[in-house]
Symmetry: D2
Subunit: 315 residues, 4 copies
């Protein structure tokens, strides 16, 4: 665990972390290792305090709270509660995967009580605790500045601008994260298609070794490739996994947003649709295609003798 | 069965039909109904003669033979045999689904023996016997002219140019048919996607009735839509069919040809790939995507308590 | 102009038509030709009355009004005005291209005043006046029944169910029309890709004649194909048109709705994105791809001598 | 320049390099820096010798030649010449971007003279000289073993298996490189789409800074992203580049190969088609779509007054 060098930090800060799952819990650990004080709260009783109210009371004003909880209703209701519990001058950061349009609503709700709001997209998954988290923040410059010691502790080592950005006003952080995730869908699908083709019958004898050899020097080297190599070392033919891929919302929002702005998004949308299709037991659309083929070909069953000397009746 | 009006026919002709499956058999019937003489041969013994050799002997020179057999080796070997059996001035029409590049080879092989060659893409499936077949022919003008009585009998009623075209030199007929089938893939998938979306949870209560109401007056009315309506009247939720769709080659050739000429083909290729995917029990690519997601999320199983208050760890 | 046979009509009715553009004006003509009384209003002064207020006064209660005006604010404000102007028991049909989610809002707004509401998707374009319009309606059964004389006059000749559907409750008509338009995008793009490929260098010599020959007997025959044939007869190489394709909203809503329901829509989305791309003078995405290629290849200009004997430096 | 540690090298070797462009020239430099002897030949007279014949004579038997020249005819003719010039036991490596199907032909041609053949896909572009080249080799194990000192010098520092793979028999190296490049197309397009969407009107104020902040800690970090960041630092809005993207063959072969094996490749094909489209001054397909829209809308010009109060006539 290597947080940013001390000379880039303004000072150690106190932070309330709401949500202590794999993301929030790891982030709290990384912040503490960097010398910050974190008071944690989780609704399963695993935190340092037993309620939001206790969390607020445990922090010194002006308070800083970081939300690391599911987007949608859990975040909405927490923001509503905090609007009542917090004082003027306190600051809330939403580090979860909220849609950027939620940020404006949350910021306005809190602003009516004089409470500041920052949105921050966080990337890195379970690796972030040791490697640092990529951060994309949106908000007023003064609020971003106030949070810099926290951002510096969470982000990876190296130049600040390579792992952190103040992307724009409230909402810009989650917007940047949304597009990040859309890009991620496209990248993952590209590797996945390559993986499938390498296995499909060509002369390559060891697909795992080929993908591992892409790790250095090639144009396609990346952290996702490194993860692919790890997955194949663990399970060389992915026998222990089924081709069922969830999506967590940002990919959908990315395509919706592209449609709003008339931006062609053929690759990212194809990656999203491949995930949708992966979850279908049987595809209604392909039933329709099969039904149409049966319609031109007639309902009769193919007779073996015929089949030997006739072309198909349709495409 | 309504062949073209007699005044468009030059004269009744004699034709040898090789292949008497659903396509060749129906075409022979339509030709006979139009007054032409058809001697049929099939390699399952169902024809009028027992061998290619007998077929050739049963026809008066200059002979005309129509091949309606599977593309690839069955057609290749039949053409090779005919090169030896036929005489100068005879004519062979390949009405099967051969790739257009095969036509040049077959034409040259036969030309060395003074035998003429025409390729003819045939569309219409099992409906063609009564409704007529859409025909796309390639070859020398004199050979096309010679075949016009046959083409006129096979094509639908109405103006000749609405159901028949001399598309260009040898190969052009199968090329036009290849593109026709590529377009067909796109059309089928478009209806299929609409069918799936109508069923996906919106306010529409009777999807079959909606698609039937598209039959007249709308922009999307078509013969394929009529077939879709028939399929849904027969099996309203397509319960008796699985979403498994074959492809018969022309769609693949269409995309390959587009790639050769640097023509973007996003819709037709998407329709082709949807068919490929429909035949996979599990998708290797989507296993790879799922494996990557597991890599960022860590191998640990989600714990119920955590899940309640944490955002997903990645897209 | 051939409206439905009289024995399918309940009785002649009186209708107020709001919007007399190419759609509303033609529909008014078709309704009058069927014996119905239409009082027309347009905000450009071209109608029978000079204001909405006058239109309402010109109709006998219980009144029926058909809106054929642009979706969005023009429709919203007209519905708001009608809520004040109309009386209990009057009925408003929105025949424009409103989003199905607007229908619920409009229906509730009018229902508060005891005014009935039906939504009706209308397909057929400028051809509808003579050929009839494909109609997809949503609403309460009693309201649909009340409108049947109008629907029967507007729809094409032939069985009612082939050109009209009561698709479900309020919103279902516009939903069915939305999906219809999404399918339409896919169909158009499929023909368009086929047109481009036929022109791209293969052996086909007369692309217009090939597409015309698809008009009868083939699997791809359709009304859109007939329009394509007309377009090519008018302008064989489409020299008088540029490859710039607008979209009018329904295609976007179709993809958004598919995303909401996790329905894969590869073909319809590809068709939509092709339209977006067609309107770009230069593609930012492709600038980025070109920039990346320059990055691996180095900033140096290619030297002629080198180029002759070296492979490209990247894909 | 940091070639692999000496303890992984068997011995210094002598190599003839055919082709001294940006790839071959840089590779020769890297090999020399690693202590190997390279005799270079280029057909523009820039090498150490003036002809292939002189190159062969300048090397001690058993000779090793590395071809780094354009795929297709230049490589074919060079292999044919070498078949005559070389002796039994000599070895030819094709490091260019040949199609894997060429490898079998070249290997058989040389094998008839007792000459060995290895194919080696090389990735890394102009950066390879200093960072090392990702290598994917195909051939007999003994031939691969014989080439290991050269491979070790060319590949990046670090574990051999992270920058080199013996992928299988002759052809497997170029096959692996082909798929690598297909994946590369998908990756590039994914970043490019993200770049375009970030610029399309959302709240993000500095797109370059956002993409730079993806460099560390995020899921999308990669070498291609680093290149994107460099490109944007150099030209923040890519004003100095047009959205015109070439392709060098491997992407096409990848899609063709996927079609052969019935592998769905939606993302890689979409990326390929986006490049095709980027090079069109006007799209014939989109002219066809525009023509169809004009057909339903009628040829009449929109009148301003009408437009204000009517919906579009079609999708």
């Amino acid at each position: 665990m290597h947080p940013a060098p001390a000379d880039e930090r303004n000072s150690d800060v106190q932070l309330g972390m709401v949500g202590l799952g794999r993301m929030g819990g790891n982030m709290a650990e990384r912040l503490r290792a960097a010398g910050h004080e974190v008071v944690g709260y989780a609704n399963d009783g695993s935190g340092d305090v037993g309620s939001l109210d206790e969390l607020v009371k445990a922090l010194s004003a002006p308070r800083t709270l970081w939300l690391m909880i599911p987007a949608g209703e859990p975040t909405h209701s927490t923001v509503r509660s905090l609007a009542d519990l917090l004082d003027e001058g306190d600051l809330v950061v939403d580090g979860g995967n909220s849609k950027f349009t939620d940020d404006t609503v949350h910021a306005e709700l809190l602003d009516a009580h004089g409470i500041r709001y920052v949105d921050c997209g966080v990337s890195g998954g379970v690796w972030g605790r040791t490697e640092g988290y990529g951060l994309m923040a949106g908000g007023d410059p003064a609020d971003i500045e106030r949070m810099m010691p926290v951002f510096d502790a969470l982000r990876p080592e190296g130049p600040r601008e390579e792992g952190f950005v103040h992307a724009g006003p409230v909402g810009a952080g989650h917007y940047a994260k949304m597009v990040h995730n859309g890009v991620e869908y496209g990248l993952m699908q590209a590797y996945a298609e390559g993986y499938e083709l390498l296995n499909a019958g060509g002369p390559v004898e060891n697909v795992g070794a080929v993908m591992k050899a892409w790790s250095r020097g090639t144009v396609v080297r990346s952290w996702l490739l490194d993860l692919m190599v790890r997955a194949l070392e663990d399970d060389p033919h992915l026998d222990r996994i089924t081709g069922y891929a969830e999506d967590s919302g940002e990919g959908r929002w990315t395509v919706d947003e592209a449609i709003l702005h008339a931006v062609p998004l053929p690759v990212i949308s194809a990656a999203l649709f491949a995930r949708f299709a992966s979850r279908q037991v049987d595809s209604p659309a392909m039933k329709a295609v099969a039904a149409l083929r049966a319609q031109f070909g007639g309902h009769a069953v193919h007779k073996a003798g015929d089949a030997a000397l006739e072309p198909p009746t349709g495409g």
